[in-house]
C-alpha cells in the first residue's frame, strides 16, 4: 500500500470520481480515481491538494482519494 500526494484537477459528483495530478507529473493526470464518500462534494475543488491511497501501487483502479486539503 502506498500513499501519494496530488492536486485535484477535476471532479465528477455523479460518479464520485476525480482526475488527479499526482505529485511529480507535470503533463499527465490520473483519471477516474474513486473518491471517498465521506468527503463532501463541495470540498472537491480544482487546485486543492489531496491524498490518495494505492492499495496496489501499480493499479490505478485500486486506489481511493481519501483526503482533500488546502
Amino acid at each position: 500500500m502506498e500513499v501519494r500526494r496530488g492536486t485535484v484537477q477535476a471532479f465528477d459528483s455523479g460518479s464520485y470520481r476525480a482526475t488527479v495530478q499526482i505529485a511529480g507529473s507535470l503533463s499527465t493526470w490520473l483519471g477516474d480515481v474513486a473518491v471517498a464518500r465521506n468527503i463532501p462534494s463541495a470540498e472537491m475543488q480544482v487546485g486543492r491538494s489531496c491524498a490518495l491511497v494505492f492499495f496496489d501501487e501499480t493499479n490505478p483502479s485500486d486506489a481511493v482519494l481519501v483526503a482533500v486539503y488546502t
Binding site: Q9, T28, L30, D56, T58, N59
Partner: protein, 549 residues
C-alpha cells in the same frame, strides 16, 4: 530539390512548390498544387520521397491531413484523405520506409495535447492509401501547462525524432526533445526511447536531414552533424581478468585490461567512455574453427586506472537491469486494460533503450491486460519486477535484447553437466520454501494452488495475493500457480563450477550428474551465472547458481 510552401498574400489555403535542379542554387517558377480543403487554412506541411523519387506532400488543416502524390514525375492533382484526425494540428512530419511513416502533434478531440505516430500505406505493412490509427508517443492532459509542436522525423541508423515541448508555467521553456526507435524495431511498433532534452531553445524545433555519412540537424542559426559511428574496439588481447555476472534483476561486469603500454591513458574521451557498450562474447576454438555466442552486453559505468607496478585499466559495466534502474518515469502513464503484460514490458524496456523478444512467453503474459499505471519518478527496474511478479515468466538479456520465456516446471533439460562436461566443484542445497499454498483474490474471483506434499507437512500457511486486475477465475488460478512454481524453484539451491559453457543462459534447465552428491541426471534451473576469464592463469570457468525447475 523541391520546396513546398503556402503562397504569400493568400490566406494559406493552397500549396505551391518550386523545384531546383542544381541543389538549391536556383529555383524554377512556382507551381500550384491546389487547395487541400477549401476554406480551411493550412496549419502545417510535410513532404518526403521514396527511393524511386516519387514524392508525397502532406498538408494539415486544423482537423485532418491531406496528401498529394507525384508518381514517375506526374502529380496526381488530387488531395486525398491521409488521416491525422485531431482537433488542432501543431506539427507534422513524414519519412518513407516502405510506407509513409507519419508523426503529428497537436490537440485531440478530448483536449489532450500530444505527439502521435501513424502511417499511410504504400503497400508494405499497410495497404496503399489506407492509414493506421494514431498511437501516442508523448501526451499531456487537457489542463496541463505542457504542449507539443514541430516534430521532425528521419531514418538514419534508426528512426530519429525531434519535437518541441513547451511548458507554459512560470518557469517557461520551449525546448526540443529527441528520441529514437530501437535498432531493428519497426515504426509500427511505436517503441521509442525516453525523449531527452536538446540543449536549445527553439519555437520551431530542429529539422533533420539524413545524408550518406551523417545525420544533419538545423535551425535558422545553427547546424549540427553527427559523428560517424566508431569501429568496434577489440579488447580481447588486453584482457587480464574478466568477471561477468547475470542474475534475476541484476548483472554486471568487471574487466581488467593490461595498460602497460599506456594505450588506455585517454579512457573517458574516446571509445572507452561512460555509457559505451561492452560486449562479452565467450567462445571456443572448435573443430569447425572459432565459435562464439552472442553472450552478454554491458554498458560502461565506471573505471579505475591502476598505475605503478603493473599498469591496469579496470572497466566496470552494468547490464540491461542497470539501464532499467537508471530510467525514471517523467510523468504519469496509465493503461486501462489496453496493453498486455508483455506489451507493458516492451514499453518500459524501450524507454530504457532495450528491445524485447518473446522467446517462449506464457499465454498469460500475452493475454493478461491489467490496469496499470506508472507514477512519475518510478524506476524501470522496479516496474519490470512488479510485472514479472504477476506472471509465470522470467526475463533475461542476450546482448542488448531482453528475452521473456515461461518458466515451466515441465521444461526439458537443454544441456548435461557431468561426467563429459565435468563439474569441478559443486554445492547442492535444499531448503524449505517460503510457502506451499497460494490464494489469488481478484475482483470477485478466487484462484488457488497447492504444493500438497508441503501443505501436509504443515510447514507454512496460506499466502494471499490480492489483485483486482484478476477478473476471471482462470486468471486468479494462473497467478496462484505462478507463485507456487516460484516457491518450487526456491526449494533447491546451490551452485556448480564448470569449464565455461559459451551458450549457457539464465533460466536454462540443465541436468546434473554428480555421483559425489548422489545426483543422476537431476534437473536444475540456472538461477544465476558468473563467467570468469583469466587467460594468464588459464582460467575460463562458469559458476552456475542452481534452483529448482
Amino acid at each position: 530539390m523541391f520546396v513546398f510552401y503556402t503562397p504569400p498574400g493568400e490566406q494559406r489555403f493552397s500549396v505551391s512548390y518550386r523545384r531546383s535542379l542544381d541543389y538549391g542554387q536556383t529555383f524554377g517558377s512556382p507551381v500550384s498544387l491546389g487547395t487541400p480543403a477549401s476554406g480551411f487554412p493550412l496549419r502545417w506541411l510535410a513532404a518526403g520521397h521514396t527511393p524511386d523519387g516519387d514524392i508525397a506532400v502532406f498538408a494539415a488543416i486544423s482537423l485532418r491531413v491531406f496528401c498529394q502524390r507525384r508518381v514517375q514525375g506526374t502529380w496526381s492533382g488530387v488531395w486525398t484523405d491521409a488521416n491525422g484526425f485531431l482537433a488542432d494540428v501543431s506539427g507534422l512530419a513524414t519519412c518513407f520506409r516502405g510506407d509513409w511513416n507519419m508523426v503529428i502533434s497537436g490537440t485531440d478531440s478530448a483536449g489532450k495535447k500530444g505527439v502521435w505516430t501513424y502511417f499511410l500505406g504504400e503497400g508494405a505493412a499497410q495497404t496503399r492509401d489506407t492509414s493506421s490509427s494514431l498511437q501516442e508517443l508523448a501526451l499531456a492532459g487537457a489542463n496541463s501547462l505542457v504542449e507539443f509542436r514541430c516534430p521532425f522525423l528521419a531514418y538514419y541508423d534508426v528512426y530519429r525524432l525531434y519535437f518541441v515541448e513547451r511548458f507554459n508555467g512560470q518557469q517557461y521553456y520551449n525546448r526540443p526533445y529527441r528520441t529514437q526507435s530501437l535498432p531493428g524495431a519497426s515504426f509500427q511498433a511505436n517503441l521509442w526511447r525516453e525523449p531527452v532534452p536538446f540543449d536549445l531553445a527553439s519555437d520551431y524545433g530542429v529539422a533533420l536531414a539524413p545524408g550518406p555519412t551523417a545525420l544533419w540537424l538545423s535551425v535558422p542559426d545553427g547546424v549540427w552533424r553527427s559523428l560517424a559511428p566508431p569501429e568496434p574496439l577489440d579488447l580481447t588481447p588486453q584482457v587480464v581478468s574478466l568477471v561477468a555476472a547475470a542474475e534475476p534483476a541484476r548483472g554486471g561486469v568487471r574487466v581488467e585490461l593490461d595498460n602497460s603500454q599506456g594505450q588506455f591513458a585517454t579512457v573517458g574521451t574516446g571509445l572507452l567512455r561512460e555509457g559505451a557498450e561492452l560486449a562479452v562474447s565467450p567462445g571456443y576454438y572448435a573443430s569447425t574453427g572459432p565459435q562464439l555466442s552472442e553472450g552478454l552486453a554491458f554498458w560502461i559505468s565506471g573505471w579505475e586506472q591502476v598505475v605503478g607496478g603493473e599498469n591496469r585499466l579496470v572497466l566496470e559495466g552494468e547490464d540491461g537491469w542497470g539501464l532499467l534502474e537508471r530510467w525514471r518515469a517523467r510523468c504519469q502513464f496509465t493503461w486501462k486494460g489496453t496493453k498486455s503484460v508483455l506489451e507493458l514490458l516492451a514499453f518500459i524496456l524501450a524507454r530504457a533503450g532495450l528491445a524485447l523478444s518473446p522467446l517462449g512467453p506464457s499465454t498469460f503474459i500475452q493475454g493478461h491486460r491489467p490496469d496499470f499505471t506508472i507514477h512519475a519518478g518510478e524506476r524501470g527496474s522496479w516496474l519490470v519486477a512488479q510485472l514479472l511478479a504477476r506472471v509465470p515468466d522470467g526475463l533475461f538479456f542476450r546482448g542488448s535484447t531482453a528475452l521473456v520465456k515461461e518458466l515451466s516446471p515441465t521444461e526439458a533439460s537443454a544441456y548435461s553437466y557431468g561426467p563429459i562436461h565435468p563439474v569441478l566443484q559443486g554445492r547442492y542445497a535444499a531448503r524449505t520454501p517460503q510457502g506451499s499454498w497460494a490464494q489469488a483474490l481478484g475482483r470477485g474471483v478466487l484462484g488457488e494452488d497447492f504444493d500438497w506434499e508441503r501443505v501436509e507437512m504443515l510447514t507454512s500457511g496460506v499466502l494471499q495475493l490480492q489483485d483486482l486486475n484478476l477478473l476471471q477465475a482462470s486468471q486468479a488460478q494462473e497467478r496462484a500457480q505462478a507463485q507456487v512454481r516460484r516457491w518450487g524453484r526456491e526449494q533447491l539451491g546451490g551452485e556448480i563450477t564448470v569449464p565455461a559453457h559459451c551458450g549457457q543462459e539464465l533460466y536454462d534447465v540443465v541436468d546434473i550428474t554428480d555421483p559425489r552428491a548422489g545426483l543422476e541426471g537431476s534437473l536444475r534451473r540456472i538461477a544465476g551465472l558468473t563467467l570468469t576469464y583469466q587467460p594468464r592463469q588459464g582460467l575460463y570457468q562458469h559458476r552456475l547458481l542452481l534452483g529448482g525447475v
